[in-house]
Amino acid sequence: MISKSVKQSAWFFVIPVVFLVAFNALIPLMTVVNYAFQETFGDNVFFWEGLTWFEQVLNSDRFHDAFLRQIMFTSIILLIEVPLGIAIALSMPRKGPWVSVCLVLMALPLLIPWNVVGAMWNIFALPDIGLLGYSLNAIGIDYNFTQQPISAWITTILMDVWHWTSLVVLLAYAGLTAIPEAYYQAAKIDGASKWAVFKWIQLPKMKRVLTIAILLRFMDSFMIYTELIVLTGGGPGNSTTLLSIDLVKLALGQFDLGPAAAMSLVYFFVVLLICWVFYTLMMKNEQQ
């Protein structure tokens, strides 16, 4: 890390960025805050509502359920994608022509628009005409993601694993290739087993990139909307209604802007809080 000199005029370099991001972040946020604390009957007439909406949201079963489903979804996909991503990165060749082939093919899902991801999985999983759904039913597994909550969950998780594991793979792979050959040689001399090499060399050296991976996956899985609305629409029933979907249903479907705004804020701050805690913990760990 290079040493930095103090220079206040460096602010001029960041002003354009601050202006642009603030324009996009603060004004909409103020709008949300506005709705969250007030009641409107149109025509821009507002009545102060204080914390009513917040109480209502925080006490509603609906929010609790969506929140629990969200936590469950995020935990499951993190538990699958992170170890799987690491395992695939470990088994990839380090050099040679296959590396490019692997990277290009693996990165492909990351660049497919999210609604297409949802649509693709929808037609892939359809029980009567989809490859996955048809095959499962053909071998005697009763599978129909439009009717059965369990099937819907499995399909959703499979889709997310399909969509995002490559991100973990790419990051972990980048971390792995950055380890100097001397470490592996020293480990051989020291008689380390494969597991010991993983535990004492590869994992510690991947820590930084894995932090990025987990943070990104956490944030993005907490925001998942487009893929899911196209795949299941939050159903059957409310079984796959995660936070974002619930929020949009509330805001656009029922036009309950007050509670929706209050929920937006709660939601945003939960994401922020968890990321902040995670971030500080990692930083502390780093300094030790």
Binding site: A182, Y183, Q185, A186, K188, I189, D190, G191, A192, S193, A196, W200, I201, P204, Q288
Partner: protein, 238 residues
């Protein structure tokens, strides 16, 4: 411990070497006698590290044989050759303590914990690493880290040969002298074969009983009386 013979070794990092320049080692025939202290001297890129790699099994030679005593070990794994090697730049296990770093080669070989502990403390004492031995190794300076790397080579008692690849490059001047004497002293006590790679003539001559100088010889005027043992390696005895 064993006598190590390299017979007719050639090595190229290319997959299809044809010309002479494709070879990092053109033709090597050397015998390291059991218990000797050797220095390998030569300019950068002449193949010193490659040679050590061939002895330790990290590199398998394009052609030729490696013998430990009379056994052909050319195709044997590094772990079964029982060798210790220290690299030019420190390699430490960041997340372990200094103690665990030193104990690592022993624990991997399932040595009883009491022996591990006494052996580690002995080596730590020799290298002045006792203070903060239970701290994380990552917190040490470069000197300290390189001492750990050295220490991991020294803790093992059953080795056939200890190899040092320019181990003192990152260590400051005073310490260099001290560590070199320590190594020399150690050699006199345990009589393990040691091979020491360096750029520095003085270092080579103070450490070793025998200096093996890689060609081109004209860069080493003081060794003008070298006996020409082979195509590319010359040997001088004190």
């Amino acid at each position: 411990m064993a006598k190590i013979s390299l017979q007719d070794i050639r090595h190229s990092y290319l997959s299809n070497p044809r010309l002479d320049v494709d070879f990092a080692l053109k033709h090597i025939d050397i015998v390291f006698e059991d218990g000797g202290a050797y220095a390998l001297l030569g300019p950068s890129g002449c193949g010193k590290t490659t040679l050590l790699g061939i002895v330790s099994g990290l590199v398998s030679p394009t052609s030729g044989r490696v013998l430990f005593d009379e056994d052909d070990v050319t195709d044997m794994d590094t772990i079964h050759r029982h060798i210790a090697q220290v690299f030019q730049f420190p390699v430490i296990y960041d997340t372990m303590t200094v103690f665990d770093n030193l104990a690592f080669p022993l624990r991997n070989r399932k040595i009883p914990e009491t022996d591990v502990s006494s052996r580690v403390l002995e080596v730590a004492k020799m290298l002045d690493l006792e203070e903060g031995i239970h701290r994380r190794a990552a917190s040490l300076t470069v000197d300290g880290k390189q001492k750990i790397s050295l220490g991991r080579g020294l803790v093992r008692e059953d080795v056939n040969v200890m190899m040092f690849d320019e181990p003192l490059t990152v260590i400051d001047q005073n310490m260099k002298w001290e560590l070199r004497s320590k190594l020399k002293e150690l050699h006199q006590n345990v009589r393990t074969t040691m091979i020491y790679v360096t750029h520095d003539q003085t270092e080579a001559l103070t450490f070793a009983d025998e200096v093996l100088a890689f060609k081109p010889v004209r860069q080493l005027p003081r060794l003008a009386f070298v006996l020409n043992m082979s195509d590319s390696v010359s040997r001088v005895s004190r």
